[in-house]
Symmetry: C2
Subunit: 574 residues, 2 copies
Amino acid sequence: MTDLVTPTAADREDAAAVRSSTVAHMKWWGWGVPGVAFHHEDKPAFAPFVLKAVGIDLDGTEPLAQPDFDRLDVPASIAGEALRDALAAAVGADGVVDGDLDRVVHTYGKSIRDLIKVRAGRLPRVPDLVVYPADEAAVQAVVDAVVAHDAVLIPFGGGSNIAGSLEPVPGEPRPVVSVDLGLLDRVLGIDERSGLARIQAGALGPSLEAQLNERGWTIGHFPDSFTHSSLGGWIATRSSGMQSDKYGDIADITRGLHVARPGGLLELRATPSASTGPSVREMILGSEGRLGVITEATVQVHRVPAKRVIHAYFFPNWRAGSAAMQQIAESDVHPAITRVSDGRETGFSLATSKASKGFSGLAQKGLFAFLKRRGWDLDAMCLSFIGYEGADDHVARQRKAVERIVKRNGGVSVGTGPGVLYDQKKFDTPYLRDFLLDRGTVGDVSETSVPWSGLDAMHDGVIAAAEAAYASIGRKGWIMSHLSHSYHSGACLYFTFAFVAQDDPEAEYDVVKHAIQQAFIDLGGVPSHHHGIGLEHAEWLPDVLSDPGIGVLEGLFAATDPGRNLNPAKITAS
Amino acid sequence: MTDLVTPTAADREDAAAVRSSTVAHMKWWGWGVPGVAFHHEDKPAFAPFVLKAVGIDLDGTEPLAQPDFDRLDVPASIAGEALRDALAAAVGADGVVDGDLDRVVHTYGKSIRDLIKVRAGRLPRVPDLVVYPADEAAVQAVVDAVVAHDAVLIPFGGGSNIAGSLEPVPGEPRPVVSVDLGLLDRVLGIDERSGLARIQAGALGPSLEAQLNERGWTIGHFPDSFTHSSLGGWIATRSSGMQSDKYGDIADITRGLHVARPGGLLELRATPSASTGPSVREMILGSEGRLGVITEATVQVHRVPAKRVIHAYFFPNWRAGSAAMQQIAESDVHPAITRVSDGRETGFSLATSKASKGFSGLAQKGLFAFLKRRGWDLDAMCLSFIGYEGADDHVARQRKAVERIVKRNGGVSVGTGPGVLYDQKKFDTPYLRDFLLDRGTVGDVSETSVPWSGLDAMHDGVIAAAEAAYASIGRKGWIMSHLSHSYHSGACLYFTFAFVAQDDPEAEYDVVKHAIQQAFIDLGGVPSHHHGIGLEHAEWLPDVLSDPGIGVLEGLFAATDPGRNLNPAKITAS
């Protein structure tokens, strides 16, 4: 996070105020640590880019004031004494919290819709209690207490969810308990001969990775949310990370599981593979709390690679870039990262570079002049990052093989400079999103996976759908995309979009988001490749599972949670 | 199958008799095509090996006569007219069969226990009807008719199952319908840009592979049962194949699914990846008919590789061989096959070589003399096969990297000759098993997966458990093993065992099989890595899923099949 402003002493005090039982939380009104924020003073191309993209003049726009917590109208807790007593017996009296700030922090995740709502004080239903169990037995006791008192339980990891998985359903008449796993943050052990680590589900990315690194290991799982998301959250939303091309998605990484379920702990033995179906492991993966609370997982870990490097390449256009990614995927080469941005996102990346670094400066100008002479349209040009990991000679060989493919598709190498910057800034995007929201601009992301044969049509079709949606609400909008993960049969396309809201940011956002998600489905994709389903994407689940498939899911939930006590209405409404 | 005797004209007539609606079946009393059989005339070391291993003198033992179908006492069909009419409406009158031979063929799979039972005429419950739907709509109509008439449905692919997944439960009072998918055997289409093929579930390995090969593609899935198992069966038992190290297990290969469920067709969209949980796809995988009948799958297919070669290596002992496999798994190399046999299985392989080929002859004697001079114990020596696929230079580079690891672990290269033989004979083992059964020897296989840290203890512990079991029943027995699949965190160990039965082959077998399976669990493994659960392995499922995990499975089955019409009592008893 070299590229952000950092907290002051006052900010740190602010952060301490949201701390409960030694668990730190993000800002109640935005992403990340209080005091850390995006700024663009050293990025001269940024303001002109934003003006062109969404029509807002950053230099003439004062940011909105930080929202005032005291002006929120927080509904009172409806938790009764019996439930409070039972939970206090489970986690200790200190671990049961009903303060307004804590409850508001646990009401939403951090999607743009969540931020719009919380900043506007829209709090139709907040958790009635937040509990902080300190170990697995306490989590089990909480689950049993919630079911015994017919309350509702919502597990909470880092709070970074953007699919609506964390919020209580408006109108829920029963007490709602948010179970914060923040105290379960330890790596419990590493089987060094097998490359398996037992890790508590509440461990956030930086903490678990530091504990593993200390002993020479890495989990290799780096979602955009890494700094503020937890192992349990990754599993509960079936997450992917930036290096999943090499390490696999969390579904591949997760081998054993502990889940606190009503009546007792579900324990799945950690084994390399099994012909045991229907797979209970893969029912827990992506279950978003509906089957219980994940307390621990045994995950694959790898030796920190001898070498890790990210190379940047430019392709003359999107078709050339996506074709190269497919050719890499079907080749004998296995990079850690295969990513290519479209022309729009490439323009954005160049605009967020610092004046003195990365693509800026004379070198860049020389390169661009050269590419222009070769006939490139610099607005269509696509920036790609390919990551290599392993022994020196392996990295060198992989790079050579990739660069043959890059060249065959008309691409050129730009070296490792931009890759170093990408690596440093890769977790900063949500701060930029909040910076724009402070200035009235609504930005969000939506992503899907699609077979290679439909990839280019998906790319163009989603952009067309978003532009039609902007036109329908009469707003100037922006959308850009990158290919983020490659598989044998297709890839993930990740879209980022933004527009300046006018009258009703949430309603206007819904029109655009809906158009993009519908295009995913219409063009052969899925509602989400790595953000989960929650409330936000549930509408489109029948399109990919069919009604009988939804019936199977609903049957599973009804049978395993007959009282609808476990995060009800997420994934499927019933 | 170059190494087997081949059918006569009379055998072909025999085979035609078991044919219904153009679907060919295996022998009712054994594996494979009538007339095809194992023989050892050209394998001089075989009889001495068998004498030493299990104490039977093949030269002095007359094979039992082929069992006589007419002597079986086949219970009459209890299917009533209404059910028959409804099924005839679903599949046509010709597609509903109640002949004794057809019904017996559909009573069991082909495990040794199945063969013992069917040869002894133990037929406590045979299907009352066999139906042959010709398309997906007919399968759906069959499912709905079975549920409407409160009958029981058991899907049947190639009939190669060895986990008891195909048999009706003794005492089932309702009519039992075996649904043979044999007519659904076509590759419906290939998305050549995405490497995805739509294939009907009843297609057997050779048929679907031939249809794919014709257009330059391969599925890359080659289980031991390949010649007589179907795509639907692979999916329903969550199967692995010999080249899964490269192509993935069937769980990785399967992307989209069609499943005929009561009330309608479940259709899962084929996509590269999705963060949609709980994964309905992975509920169907390994479901053994309990969620419905798989009618079609969209699977990953690959271009037939430019080069495919299997190299053989010898290691001085098991520890050296298994260490090398792990080092390959954690290296940057990705072979298509990583396999190493223990000293016992290596001895067996040498004994089944023809006099003039493979390891025999002067070359072998020269090599063995050389290894002896180097201090090797030839009884402990371990044979390994590593398969390489891809472009020429890729194969060469992978081989070089593997051979560095082989050398580091004290191994030597034996070239490609044995690999060619292995490749030709890889599907013959069940014929050998039947040859021995004809001579009173009960042989079977059991396999598990285990983390690397427990691999050697598992290998030695299972052998000790089997030997204790042999001692307890007072029989001379044999057990041998190979590592068949490697993963990041562990491997599959595959055990083959045999003994000469005395009084009660099934009861004696149960003692040995039970000891081996229990050792799997006690030593950190799973009940099965690639043979499924069925009835045979269900006893050990709670050990790896825990009781709450079994509760989730039972809840799923109860919710999705409240009438228990879909292959009840498989995987879990309730």
